[in-house]
């Protein structure tokens, strides 16, 4: 357990003190939101209808892009070999890195999204459902992205491959995330529960899959 905390703390420290972490992901999110009305036209009613879905797609892409190199640096400088030889199993390392990524990227993005929603004329009544569903969903997103990051860790041009592998797995999170933040009260509750279930299932399965893929590269 203390190893888990140590790994999470290490990654959080790196994310905060190194450039290219949280700030860049937020910047990407902001740019996406600014570009959207330019592409769709400034119609306020249209933007209000599209806002939850558009914010979810933006969340998906920013989490994916920031997590696609989750293991890259540690793999290249050899830290990952040391972690693999250490006392903690590789599954725990993968879990710790996904958790740190969620805390440093997914959570800030999920909290910032409803605020950016004002730019898209988001319905004020939809702010809380959106925030809660995004906080839940981003955990699943970070975990699923860790599988893609592990699968492509040793590849020189893995960036596009990660998107091709991970985005199809994001589909259920997107569907239930949007209906949890934009559906009626009953649908929203049911969708939120399914979203929570998706997060819990990926909490169990994603570290296993990521560790299996990492082992293929560490041999």
């Amino acid at each position: 357990m203390s190893i888990l905390w140590a790994l999470i703390r290490r990654d959080l420290t790196l994310a905060i003190r190194q450039g290219g972490g949280v700030g860049t992901a937020l910047g990407f999110f902001l740019t996406f939101v600014v570009l959207l009305p330019l592409g769709l036209g400034p119609d306020q009613a249209l933007l209000q209808r599209l806002a939850p879905g558009a914010l979810w797609v933006a969340l998906l892409l920013s989490v994916l892009l920031s997590a696609s190199t989750l293991f890259q640096q540690d793999y290249e400088d050899g830290s990952l070999d040391v972690m693999a030889l250490g006392a903690a199993p590789l599954e725990l390392v993968a879990l710790a890195k996904s958790a740190a990524h969620w805390l440093s990227a997914g959570l800030p993005l999920a909290i910032a999204a409803p605020l950016l929603g004002f730019l898209l004329n988001l319905n004020p009544a939809g702010i809380w459902p959106l925030a809660i569903s995004m906080i839940t969903g981003s955990l699943a997103l970070s975990l699923i992205a860790s599988i893609g990051a592990a699968v492509t860790v040793g590849l020189r041009r893995g960036g596009l491959l990660v998107s091709l592998l991970v985005l199809p797995l994001y589909v259920p999170v997107l569907i239930f995330g949007v209906s949890a933040s934009a559906g009626g009260p009953q649908i929203a509750t049911a969708a939120l529960l399914i979203l929570l279930a998706l997060a819990l299932v990926s909490l169990v399965l994603a570290p296993l899959a990521a560790a299996a893929a990492l082992r293929a590269y560490l041999k």
Binding site: L164, L165, L169, V171, A209, A213, A216
Partner: protein, 240 residues
């Protein structure tokens, strides 16, 4: 199954049964196509376009079946370290992708006269499209990683992670209201379609499955040949 871990023994068996599978596939296709195009009655509502069903539905079944074969092979590769399981999974992927594409294309052609549109973003269609993307991702993994042993280890993870989509495809029509009709053959209380249409459909499904079996065996045979060539090349470099 373990005795076919020896590629030579597997090849001998494959060579012996392949002609029979080809013949059976051709016979099944002939019977199925006759039943589908000539014997089956035209639908009272859909007219002759209902015959698209006989090529569309088996392709969709096979697209899911082949992914299941891929996922099960990958699981066998992880659990039993069967040396041909990875080859089986690798060779199934392109065939499954083509079946998936056929299901999407014929469905689109069928949807144009029936629903009045080539494509709708409905649960069944979207999840089938996602299945297509999973196939492409899996194939891309094999192509992106140079070392075949490492590629096999990574591809297993990708195949099993994508298998989560299979139940979503199957039950998408029950979970969401959709334009696509719900399951009408594999149901708890028996098929909901008339026997005059049901039997050509089942024969076509058998024909598609036999075709997949034949193509899969040929592909695995080619894969074993490729491995052998690779091993010989490496040995030749070592001798030089």
């Amino acid at each position: 199954m373990q005795q076919f871990a020896n590629p030579a023994r597997f090849l001998a068996l494959a060579n012996r049964i392949l002609p029979f599978i080809w013949v059976a596939a051709i016979v099944a296709f002939a019977a199925g196509l006759y039943g589908a195009l000539a014997a089956a009655p035209a639908d009272y509502q859909q007219g002759e376009t209902v015959r698209i069903m006989f090529v569309h539905v088996p392709a969709a079944w096979l697209a899911m079946f082949v992914y299941a074969v891929m996922a099960i092979s990958s699981a066998i590769a992880i659990v039993f370290r069967h040396p041909l399981a990875d080859a089986a999974a690798k060779c199934a992927a392109p065939i499954g992708a083509v079946f998936c594409f056929l299901a999407l294309a014929t469905g689109s052609i069928w949807g144009r006269p029936m629903w009045g549109t080539w494509w709708v973003w409905d649960a069944r269609l979207t999840s089938m499209f996602v299945l297509m993307l999973l196939y492409l991702g899996y194939i891309a993994v094999w192509q992106a990683i140079d070392d075949p042993h490492r590629a096999a280890l990574v591809a297993r993870v990708v195949a099993l992670a994508g298998a989560i989509n299979l139940p979503i495809v199957k039950f998408s029509v029950d979970w969401w209201n959709s334009l696509h009709q719900p399951a009408s053959v594999l149901r708890m209380d028996g098929p909901a379609i008339h026997s005059s249409i049901l039997w050509p459909l089942l024969v076509m499904a058998i024909a598609y499955t036999l075709l997949f079996l034949a193509l899969h065996l040929v592909a695995i045979r080619a894969e074993i040949g490729q491995r052998k060539i690779r091993a010989l090349r490496i040995a030749a470099i070592g001798e030089r």
